[in-house]
Amino acid sequence: MTEFAEIWTYLSADPLLWLTLTLAAYGIGDALFHASGRRPYINPVLIAVALLAVLLRITGTSYGTYFEGAQFVHFILGPATVALAVPLHANLHHIRQTAIPLIGALIAGSLAAMISAVAIGAALGLDQATLLALIPKSATAPVALGVSEAIGGSPSLTAVFVITTGITGAIIATPLLNLLRIKDWRARGFAVGVTSHGIGTARAFQVNETAGAFSGVGMGLNALLTALIAPLIANLLFAG
């Protein structure tokens, strides 16, 4: 028993343990996602977060200690955000061919996502800190976290909002767009990418190749637009 306590003292002070467990938890989530036949509501990130949260609780580990290990994974968000330029560039021909509908739908969809979330949240009595964290939720996670931090929201809350928005969009997109009788795969995919970023894009690729490509374009463009206008919206709504 003493031996285990000694080993635990070493491990709990070393970043290796929580770095390994972060990768392992995501691995489990990813395996379940594939085993489920890639159902959008079996989300690897939500599973990993839940597993790690329970582990932290059981072992009495603080988030600060956990993050000392997990920061190595967190750091890669920066270069990964920069890397989004490449798939956006690969779809440049789509952007050129349908520039006007793309720009119009981007602005309309992005504004609708931010303003309606804040409006509904405010009407239901959410506090300002939570509303700020809701604003960038339709942008892809690395961008949304950076934006949330920049406008004074909580990146952790935003991370969860981003994932739930992605899952919601992936689940409702097909029935909703059928209800609206929208048959154009470009319009369907693009709207899903603008609203539900990578999770929506993964779903769009399952449904239709063209929808997937346009969803990817929507995700990339909305990452840029959200970063540009979320600070303005935050200022406008919460000018103090």
């Binding site: 690897p44 990993a48 690969a90 969809g109 339709s138 931090e149 919601t168 999770i199």
Partner: protein, 117 residues
Amino acid sequence: MIINLVILLGFQLLGEVTSRGLNLSLPGPVIGMAALFAVCVIWPRVATHIAPTTTVLLAHLSLLFVPAGVGVVGHLDTFGADGPALGLAIIGSTIAAISIGALTFVGLMRLTSGHDD
């Protein structure tokens, strides 16, 4: 591989310096992405060169937000009290954004191409 990592980190660094230097609320990596996109448009060879590295990085993009997501343990009381309001705000805004985005796209397609489908 190494040169590709230098390119990605270099553009991030450029973005961070620009963001802090000019006091912008735009995150540094987003400025880096926009700058790299512009460079890829001007010199498509850059995109071809770094594509193998970016594909690997982006293949498991969702892994990268697990550490931030775990930070939610500090906000569990928020979800207890505000859970239903948050759920409605997220579902409502997702329905609004997908509908408005797709309808705008279809409307503008009709206007610009001049024929119905």
